[in-house]
């Protein structure tokens, strides 16, 4: 630094010499590096979002085949009693011919393909379709004998063809489809039998097996995540706020409080997977709570979210000026009253903001849930709370992980689609937090 000082005092004029120019060049290089770093950061974000969107957006559209199907009583209810127990005896194999029959009829009506194409046509339809048909009939046996219009899922390969995932060239090598089948699908599309529409089932349907990516949905996962968030909210908000009030307003400075402080600071930085081990060892192995249940996930996520909420709440409490506490004490309020009547309500926006951000973190957390059995393949919706808290369920981020582990490339699209759903939830939560902060933040 001294030579710099000599440099400046030695100059008679303000004009730059070679050395100054060099210094300015260094300055420009440094600035460029900074701009580069910011650009990399922003590009990484854009790249990440672009990759997820380009892979996942297509999962919100799905190819369907619209058919009018005659629910033949002669097949579905031979006794004619309409007794659900009898109808239930007909397995999905019993329904498959109905679909085929209807498809062939439509093809004849519209003049598409010939008799020989019937088997190929049936292969266009998802293997899930008979099950959907059967569920429909079981739910309402009185429909037997009627002709009902169904939108049946096209198989994953056909769906992929219209989303650019499957091409004629790849179909050549694929034993699940063939170029002929794709060309035939094109004919059906022109005839208006095969249509691509918005995919509501993606949000409501449960997961589906490895071979039926077209039927896989997020219903159970969304429900499971919602249950867990409910548990996290109900437990971590009161406990977190209570702990913060004690530490910020009442706790004397002593070893015990120091111990708590150190614990909170460290828990905030403990790897999430370790919380999963805790959940497995304590909640499942010792307490004996069921695996894959939202209650266990909720408890684990509560413990993880607590430090976040405590840190945010304490900051919010600290921001309330001491003069408010003094004012309340001055008119004879107890410390408890001054906190609960004045300080806490004033800190509430900050606390809620922190809570929402904590919940958003918990919603995206995956690793601990893998260890407590949320990876299990669950097709049944959990019951309504509180019993439903103990039923097996999945969770949004775990569903993503699950789908990445499947062989069919169609699941990559599903996983990316699920991520988009997850990100939309997070975006909404964070927006709410920002709005809360903007709307209610008070500057003292």
């Amino acid at each position: 630094m001294t030579d710099m000082a000599v440099e400046t005092t030695g100059k008679a004029t303000m004009a730059g010499d070679a050395r100054t120019r060099k210094r300015h060049a260094a300055e420009r290089r440094f600035r460029l590096m900074g701009q580069l770093a910011v650009a990399i950061g922003v590009l990484a974000l854009l790249g990440l979002l672009a990759s997820i969107l380009s892979n996942g957006l297509s999962s919100f559209r799905q190819t369907y085949i619209t058919l009018e199907i005659y629910l033949d009583p002669g097949v579905l209810d031979k006794q004619g009693t309409r007794d659900p127990a009898d109808i239930a005896k007909i397995t999905t194999f019993g329904y498959a011919p109905l679909i085929k029959g209807s498809l062939v009829k439509v093809m004849q009506d519209r003049g598409v393909g010939g008799e020989a194409d019937a088997d190929m046509a049936v292969a266009l339809i998802s293997k899930e379709a008979p099950a959907i048909l059967r569920n429909y009939v079981l739910a309402d046996p009185s429909q037997i004998g009627e002709t009902v219009e169904f939108n049946l899922l096209a198989s994953g390969r056909i769906d992929g063809y219209y989303k650019g995932r499957v091409s004629m060239a790849s179909a050549e090598l694929d034993r699940n489809t063939s170029p002929e089948q794709l060309r035939f699908a094109d004919e059906l599309k022109e005839a208006g039998i095969l249509v691509t529409r918005f995919n509501w089932d993606f949000f409501t349907a449960p997961d589906a097996s490895d071979t039926r990516p077209e039927a896989a949905g997020l219903g159970v996962a969304i429900l499971g995540s919602a249950y867990m968030m409910l548990i996290v909210l109900v437990l971590s908000l009161p406990i977190g706020v209570a702990a913060s009030i004690y530490l910020e307003e009442f706790a004397p400075r002593n070893r015990f409080t120091d111990l708590i402080e150190v614990n909170i600071a460290n828990l905030a930085a403990v790897p999430s997977i370790v919380f999963g081990i805790l959940g497995l060892a304590v909640f499942i192995n010792i307490v004996g709570l069921p695996q894959s249940a939202p209650v266990v996930g909720g408890l684990v996520l509560t413990l993880m979210t607590l430090p976040t909420i405590i840190i945010a709440t304490r900051a919010a409490l600290k921001a309330v000026p001491p003069s408010i506490r003094d004012a309340a004490l001055g008119v004879g309020a107890s410390r408890m009253q001054s906190v609960f009547h004045h300080v806490l309500p004033l800190a509430m926006p900050g606390i809620l903001t922190g809570t929402i951000i904590g919940l958003a973190q918990a919603l995206g957390e995956t690793a601990p849930l893998l260890l407590i059995g949320m990876v299990a393949f669950v097709r049944d919706y959990p019951a309504a709370p509180p019993e439903g808290f103990f039923d097996p369920a999945s969770a949004l981020p775990v569903q993503v992980y699950n789908w990445t582990q499947r062989g069919d490339p169609a699941f990559v699209e599903r996983a990316s689609g699920a991520i988009i759903v997850l990100l939309v939830f997070l975006l909404v939560m964070n927006l709410v937090a920002v709005i809360l902060r903007r709307r209610f933040e008070r500057r003292w």
Binding site: I324, R325, D326, A327, L329, G330, V331, G332, A333
Partner: protein
């Protein structure tokens, strides 16, 4: 001084103290903040229906003493108070005394106006509500109105009781705080430099108010301004470096103080 006369003086002092109606008496009050001692064996009485001014240079312990009187020092963790302080002869540190009730009887107004961020009505009603002083809604309205009247604020705010107390001007805010203190019917009101954040007009208004309140309350006021002490108080106590230098009638203090330090301070030689 021999032992006999000392005892006699003591006796005379006690007799004199018995004659005067002391509302609060501090005996040998010392305050420590951690290892630091902030107040040294202060003996000072607060008389009934009198304004007592505490004066002295910054950091002399006058606010510290004031905060002893309603045990606001309890809220500072490192603070330790020794000595005996009585309110109507009852030790305020007695375990049977609930600090909350003490503060209801000894109200406080702070240096900076600190209304709650609630409506004007709620600001005043808060104290009576937590102490259960009102039997009904009209009762409460009555308390709020009379408190605001006592604080000389009623006419200015009677049409906007539901507006936020923080929206008032500084002087009005401070009078609102006084109304809030008055609303719980305290016996003593402590004021910690109540005018230091106010402009001269608002200050004059508050001083006038102190004058009126004197009829019903004992008031202890900490002030930086000698003029203010002279204007509003009947008794003045001078603090210096944690010691009580002297305490006397205000007129006497400002014309003929006993102690050189008081003289110097009043003359503005230090401050």
């Amino acid at each position: 001084m021999n032992v006999l006369t000392e005892a006699a003086t003591e006796k005379a002092l006690v007799k004199k103290m018995n004659e005067i109606n002391y509302k609060m008496v501090g005996q040998d009050v010392s305050v420590y903040y951690g290892d630091k001692r902030a107040l040294f064996d202060v003996n000072l009485g607060v008389r009934d229906n009198t304004v007592t001014a505490l004066i002295g240079p910054s950091g002399c312990g006058k606010s510290t003493f004031l905060r002893c009187l309603n045990r606001m020092n309890d809220t500072i963790q490192s603070a330790k108070v020794t000595g005996r302080i009585t309110l109507d002869g009852q030790d305020i540190h007695d375990p049977s005394i609930d600090v909350v009730e003490l503060r209801a009887r000894v109200g406080m107004v702070f240096q900076k106006p600190n209304p709650f961020p609630k409506s004007i009505y709620e600001n005043v009603a808060y104290g009576p509500r937590i102490h259960g002083l009102a039997r009904s809604k009209p009762d409460m309205d009555q308390i709020v109105e009379s408190s605001l009247q006592k604080a000389g604020l009623w006419n200015e705010v009677k049409d906007r009781l539901n507006e936020a107390g923080t929206g008032l001007s500084g002087g009005q805010q401070q009078r609102l705080c006084i109304a809030r203190a008055v609303a719980v019917s305290p016996e003593v009101i402590l004021m910690d430099e109540p005018c230091s954040a106010l402009d001269p007009i608002a200050t004059a208004r508050v001083e006038e108010l102190i004058h009126e309140l004197r009829a019903n309350y004992s008031i202890v006021i900490v002030t930086h301004s000698m003029q203010q002490a002279a204007r509003v108080s009947q008794r003045t106590a001078m603090f210096h470096l944690g010691h009580l230098v002297e305490e006397d009638d205000t007129d006497k203090m400002f014309t003929n103080p006993n102690d050189q330090r008081t003289q110097d301070y009043i003359m503005g030689r230090f401050g």
